[in-house]
Symmetry: none
């Protein structure tokens, strides 16, 4: 079904289909990227938990450790069916790589489109001792190269996870003068937003920790509000940079999800999102940074064409620095995409 | 309020009313049959649990054992109020029969329509030992015939439950080559669909088992996707055959709900739905078939008139056999309905 | 079922029952006051919309204008059934008074407790022209005094609505130094919280405006987080002061719900909550204050006994002023309750 492919007994693919409902979408009828991310993660959690328990061993629950960068290739609409298929493509001693493909299907016309592809890494935690990572049963590969390529992907993401752990000290300062918000459109402070959410039982896995997909959905919600406040048009998620889940979030926590715009190109906006957890009842622990990520949004006309985006007005030194960093990421992604396209053209 | 009627102290009727929201409906604004089935089951679970605990005895929770065939007589729309009323109409030593009536009400025009009537059977399970069925306090009947008629219904459903237990070995094989799906419309493989759902705490009763209504709603969701994929128009649930809940499904299970079309008449489609449970963590048990049922859908024009349905193309021997069996059920139902109408005409 | 009572044709009572789920409750298993407020408002919206359309006239939808102060008399738990019954007790030319009673029922033991009683005022808005208030068909009263008492209640709430319209200019300033949050527990800034919510289709009535119950649920959510952050124990809603809904909130708006603690007594906390609406897409309108209210919370031990509450540390002049105002409301309520109890004792 998907390229990497693997031929073992347990890593059989799973498929999930769901009709997109009005609440899954914005008022223009475009399904939130967060809805798709949540479906992707649920499929990943099921297949990796199933695999990790497939051999007699310590019962365990797979916890999301990382999602690789994913691009949303075409918007999904209310009434369409999102078909999510997941399969295990690599296993290391303590982690599982899941490849997920999402197709949107207009069941009235039969038209199908690739919505996005995503790669997720899970780590199995013991059901009895949540701080213990158990061993993953190895999958079998159809060809030796599949294992080698998987190992390469594994090493790369491991490195990247270490790096991002540093960046996590940053904090989104609330706007000091709230009147500013109504006065200067297109500044960072004008659109920055945050929400709090009390983690309920349905947000959590069997271990009592928040599903990675629930967190990603809230992050997309905040990022989408930042983007809409900035450009006051219909906006959709274009891509999400790799997200690392360094710290677990427990049931009963209050999480604060904050977003601020970091960069705008002619037709896209980059929003940085932080998730902070606040274990407020019965726990001595202080508030801590659980996740952070960059979301990219585009603005769409009523006909679904990309619209120009107002340029972000940076005021402070920090804002200017972050804008330049965002520009760096933007140009790097652009270069990578062009290289891929040239490679593909050369292969044909 | 309903015909069978019973005059005891505890089986006081219960009523539930709710405004239908956009998420309860398809894009044409017709409320999903599954939404109604879920409301029906919740009312039934409340009234039967209340009754079974009405006398000093072992605390227990009523678990859904069976829903009799129900016809959806008229579609409900967003903004209308669904009024669900339930009462207990018969009790055997270990089971409770609940009669539920659903009326849709347009609160703007005052128009009321019968949506459907359903009969549900519950079995009380001990709160302390979930494998123990406790005794049901008898209700009092206004007339002796009510008890006799109830007993007859009880015996009939008991027989039927035994029979369907056999059929449960069947499995829906996932489509091997997913490209086939785009190639041959109107085949069984073209429209077959499945979803997976991780059973969360809010899906469950106090005993930690999935509410029957939650399962039925998911079954209707899959059946609706199969029907829409087949005929590519607005579809609505016309009826659900009797459903038996042979096996409980525990919190933390993954359930796979799969549907395939078995039969088409000129204006209706029959879809068989299977629910398989997968207790993947902490339980040695293998995947097992928890429920199966037949849903019938019709296709509606924008004016709400029934449309012709494309005939199902059967390819394998099994598909042909199932088509014939579906035809048998269709003709049997048709004959039964005609007999009822003649009887009613004769009585007037 | 309720005291005021009225005997007309259309104001038949409506009843709604629902089993309380884990998602309706906090981690200690106590159902959120907001869940109950949402159920209450839904019942009120159904019965008043039904009544206002009961005579041939312009089709209309009842919009919540005001909820009178309500006390939560006993906490509801997961697995219990909340029985909500509503009836119309007074009609003026342009408004409807609905009396709602909520009983919690333990269906295992049969124990029933009054959870709370609430009085809601609705105004019917034309379906064609949302700015037009249509006329309400009069109800018939069993006794003349019922009409007179209703009129008195009507005049009182009208006065009160005018008064609170003034207070709405206030704004919750975000904490200027975010580090303070970890440093000075029990200050106003330490516990203040806010959330944003994108108004989706399922939050709205047929007119496309947010259900009052949805707003109240979000307000209770924020107030509960403020209370829990302050005292770091299990908290429950004890009462809600009268809430006036001055301004409608449209589908597609982003609403910001902010809460700050204003007053603490030995065993209770008062939290002020503001709802601001931000019509960010396609609308020239500025952010506006839609609703504000005072919620009172108590802290409960594991045995359900009220715990002492840490005193609120006020720092600024404004905080001290608000504390004194809160104290005034607290003493007034206490005096009123004592007077009622004496009156009841005298009547017996």
């Amino acid at each position: 079904m998907s390229e990497p492919g693997a031929a073992g007994p347990s890593p059989a693919a799973i498929q999930v289909s769901r009709i997109m409902r009005p609440d899954d979408a914005n008022i223009a009828g475009n399904v939130h990227g967060g809805t798709i991310l949540k479906m992707i993660e649920e499929a990943g959690a099921i297949i990796s938990t199933r695999h990790c328990n497939s051999q007699a061993g310590e019962p365990c629950v797979a916890a999301l450790a990382r999602v690789e960068r994913t691009d949303f290739l075409s918007p999904v609409c209310i009434g369409e069916v999102a078909n999510v298929s997941a399969e295990i493509t690599y296993t290391s001693r303590h982690s599982v790589e899941v490849q997920v493909n999402v197709m949107s299907e207009n069941i009235l016309t039969g038209a199908k489109k690739v919505t996005n592809k995503a790669t997720l890494w899970y780590v199995p935690l013991s059901l009895k001792n949540v701080n213990k990572v158990v061993e993953v049963p190895p999958i079998q590969y159809a060809r030796k190269e599949q294992e080698d390529e998987g190992k390469k992907r594994y090493e790369e993401q491991k490195l990247d996870r270490l790096e991002t752990k540093q960046r996590n000290g940053d904090v989104i300062l609330p706007v000091i003068n709230p009147d500013r918000q109504t006065k200067e459109p297109h500044t960072v402070g004008y659109s920055q937003s945050s929400l709090i959410h009390l983690v309920g039982p349905s947000d959590c896995t069997l271990l009592g920790f928040v599903h990675g997909g629930v967190t990603m959905k809230l992050m997309d919600e905040v990022a989408g509000i930042v983007a809409a406040r900035h450009c006051k048009t219909n906006i959709v998620t274009a891509s999400v940079d790799a997200i690392n889940f360094h710290e677990k979030i427990k049931k009963g926590c209050v999480i604060t999800v904050s977003g601020r715009m970091t960069f705008t190109s002619n037709k896209s906006m980059e929003i940085e999102v932080f998730v902070d957890a606040d274990p407020f009842v019965d726990e001595p622990r202080e508030r801590y940074r659980a996740v952070s990520a960059f979301f990219t949004y585009v603005s769409l006309s009523k006909e679904g064409k990309p619209l120009p985006v107002p340029q972000l007005l940076t005021e402070t030194e920090d804002e200017k620095r972050r804008f330049e960093e965002g520009k760096g990421r933007y140009l790097q992604t652009k270069a990578k995409r062009q290289a891929q396209m040239q490679q593909q053209a050369a292969q044909q």
